[in-house]
């Protein structure tokens, strides 16, 4: 589904990604962990087409197509989704109107019927149940004044509306209370299918108990230093990152 080869990228001339290799197949769940500032969010933003980042080398294929040949909105309509670490607030734009436009753009691209406001109303009411969101959030301005956790919930609502093939969830768990973490974790699991894939960026193994990855990668200094099964998450929790860095410096295994 997604194949990243030796990807390098920089922002304002500063290299942040220094050669990423990663292969994600349909049905898989991957987790990326790593120290602050190591480039995790950057990787996600580069993949979804954030204009501030410059791709300086490497190659990314998404379902066999060169990802960088596609505009950001085209990538989204092709099924790529990112739940942001810090979702932005948009005053005056109603959450429901935004969700409907996003839904209809994708429906249009896939040759499905677009939903009028009434049809969408029925549709969205099913979706908000999945993430246990209160109805009133639909009428509010997009993310405006939402608490950190509410914003994350809204991101997963958008994911549920768009049903992406590949979802990158950047620190979904940060800012969530215990119940919300369980609800949203379950929602993400329900949305996962054999023909879909997930890339979970996190600092904590807890969320990985609900959304169980087959692969855990350690990203540090713009490189993936180690990849293993989900037991790696627990080991990192116990031992921190230093040993991974040392291992890598000693020319150790990746």
């Amino acid at each position: 589904m997604l194949s990243i080869k030796n990807l390098t990228a920089s922002i304002n001339g500063t290299p942040v990604l220094k050669g990423i290799d990663l292969e994600i197949k349909a049905g898989e769940i991957h987790a990326i962990m790593g120290p602050n500032g190591s480039g995790k969010s950057t990787l996600g933003k580069v993949l979804v087409g954030h204009p501030a980042y410059e791709v300086t080398g490497g190659e990314v294929l998404y379902e066999g197509r060169n990802l960088f040949d596609m505009a950001a909105d085209e990538r989204a309509r092709a099924g790529l989704f990112m739940g942001f670490q810090h979702p932005i607030e948009v005053p005056g734009v109603s959450n429901a109107a935004f969700l409907r436009l996003a839904y209809n753009k994708k429906a249009e691209a896939e040759g499905r019927d677009e939903l009028d406001p009434l049809e969408f109303d029925d549709f969205i009411h099913e979706k908000i149940k999945l993430v246990a969101m209160k109805e009133e959030f639909l009428d509010r301005s997009l993310n405006e004044g939402f608490s950190g956790g509410e914003k994350k919930r809204n991101e997963i609502l958008q994911m549920a509306v768009l049903e992406p093939k590949l979802a990158i969830l950047d620190e979904l768990d940060s800012g969530l209370d215990i119940d919300a973490l369980r609800v949203l974790g379950d929602a993400v699991n329900k949305l996962q299918r054999p023909d879909r894939a997930l890339l979970i960026i996190t600092h904590f193994p807890r969320i990985l108990e609900t959304i169980q990855p087959q692969f855990v990668h350690v990203l540090s200094g713009g490189r993936i230093l180690k990849s293993a099964g989900k037991e790696l998450a627990i080991e990192l929790e116990d031992r921190g990152y230093d040993w991974v860095l040392e291992e890598a410096a000693a020319g150790g295994a990746r």
Partner: protein, 479 residues
């Protein structure tokens, strides 16, 4: 992958065509003879010529205002044509069919309904082409309830006493440089009179069009609503695309007597000049409403998208106790456009209330300023004002400024002012794009959200137009 901001912006101005029509014009230049010529051409009574000459003599002693945050080459007033009228086949059009077909086609192209059959449901239209009013629709229907809606020149002939009573009563001829100039040379405009107790059954609308390259447009609008009367009035404007600047210096006066209400909405789309700032209209307009009676209500709503320079402060003088003044504004500037616009709310009567909602959007290299005065005079016991001035920036090289002036001379008054500045930046756009929404639609959605509080004040059809116009004007400015 460099910034997606600042890519294009060249949606062509679609009203930029010129109508090839024979015009009856005076030679460029201004002196007392030109004023006498205009007045004679219109067969005006002596008092009106005297009004003009007094204004002219005062204007000669005045200098152009310099305080606005706009820069432009000062117009050469001797190069302007002060009278230009499409030459009619007959002196008066008895019906629309006699209007020059070329002129009719112009308005068809502009989408302005001048045939009653084709008119927008429930909107009566007065059409002003260069200096002259071409047609007014639905006149008889309105006359049946005592409403007068006609061109200014006609009103001077048919209702001289009303014109004489109210002309200059809100904006004196000596008010400011451009108002004085207008008072001296105004050629046409609209006149509306709503008698006591009558609620105007339809929206009234004037459509202004500048066609002549050298002509200035100096129109004069006067709206009077008597006790308990109400009216909603819409104004639209376009101009052809020339590489020289044309001057538009209008005066609009509104008078509301006891419990009367006037709602005045404008969608201004004068030619703004090209991407490099060549050409475009200089829009120097004085608009003022007098809430003369008790519990009267005047509301200005404007969507300013055109003109190279906009200098405009639709204001309310709240004289009657319990009167209400409102100003809702969206001003959008792009490329090299400059706008300095806002309002004045002068509280004189007791318990007077005013609301100011201003939304400035700047893109390209433009400059967009809000300038507003809230003045509470000593006798305005219990006066209240709420102002909200928000600016939105698109891209890196535009600017937005806010100049709120507050003068309060009564201690019981409450004046609140809020201001915000935001940016449509890459992050916001990426968020929309990441959800599959193309940049253009994203901008349109963000801008509409930003302007929501103003758009909901516009009559339905105007609101739809305004929404489209803003999207058009910003097309490509982010992309």
């Amino acid at each position: 992958m460099s910034s997606t901001l600042n890519v294009v912006t060249s949606q062509e101005y679609k009203y930029g065509f010129v109508t090839d029509i024979e015009a009856d014009s005076v030679a460029p230049g201004l002196n007392e003879d030109v004023i006498r010529f205009i007045s004679a051409k219109k067969g005006e009574p002596d008092w009106l010529l005297a009004f003009r000459l007094k204004a002219y003599r005062h204007w000669l002693t005045m200098t152009e205002p310099e305080w606005a945050k706009v820069e432009y080459p000062k117009p050469d007033f001797q190069k302007i044509v002060y009278y230009s009228a499409p030459k009619p086949k007959k002196p008066q059009y008895a019906s629309m069919d006699e209007v020059d077909p070329e002129l009719r086609r112009t308005f068809e192209k502009l989408g302005v309904p001048i045939h009653e059959q084709e008119a927008l449901a429930g909107v009566a239209v007065d059409v002003v082409f260069d200096s002259v009013s071409v047609t007014t629709t639905y006149r008889e229907k309105l006359a049946a309830v005592g409403i007068i809606f006609c061109s200014f020149s006609e009103a001077v002939k048919s209702h001289p006493d009303l014109v004489k009573q109210y002309l200059g009563s809100v904006v004196p001829s000596s008010d400011n440089f451009y108002a004085a100039l207008n008072s001296a040379v105004f050629t046409d405009g609209s006149f509306v009179f709503i008698p006591k107790g009558v609620a105007c059954p339809m929206d009234l609308s004037t459509y202004f069009r500048i066609n002549n390259k050298e002509s200035g447009q100096f129109e004069r609008t006067l709206i009077v609503a008597e006790e308990g009367a109400s009216v909603s009035y819409l104004e639209g404007c376009t101009a052809p695309q020339f590489d020289t600047n044309q001057l538009h210096a209008a005066v609009v006066e509104l008078v509301a007597l006891d419990r009367a209400s006037i709602k005045y909405s404008t969608v201004q789309n004068w030619y703004a000049g090209d991407k490099n700032g060549v050409g475009g209209i200089f829009n120097f307009v004085t608009k003022r409403g007098l809430c003369k009676g008790k519990a009267s209500h005047i509301s200005w709503t404007q969507v300013e998208t055109g003109s190279a320079i906009t200098w405009k402060y639709p204001s309310c003088v709240l004289l009657g106790d319990d009167s209400i003044g409102e100003f809702y504004s969206v001003a959008l500037t792009n490329h090299k456009q400059q706008a300095d616009t806002g309002t004045k709310m002068v509280h004189i009567g007791r318990n007077t209330k005013s609301t100011i909602i201003s939304k400035g959007i700047s893109a390209g290299d433009s400059s967009n300023s809000y300038r507003g005065l809230v003045k509470v005079q000593p006798k305005a016991e219990g006066a209240r004002n709420f102002s909200q001035c928000d600016s939105m920036l698109i891209g890196q090289s535009c600017s937005a400024s806010t100049f709120p002036y507050i003068e309060v001379q009564n201690r019981s008054a409450r004046v609140e002012h809020e201001a915000t500045t935001s940016k449509i930046g890459e992050e916001q756009l990426l968020y929309f794009q990441q959800r599959g929404i193309p940049a253009e639609e994203a901008i349109s959605m963000i801008i509409n959200g930003f302007c929501k509080d103003v758009f909901r004040e516009l009559p339905m059809e105007f609101a739809v137009e305004a929404t489209k116009l803003l999207s058009l004007k910003l097309e490509g400015s982010v992309g």
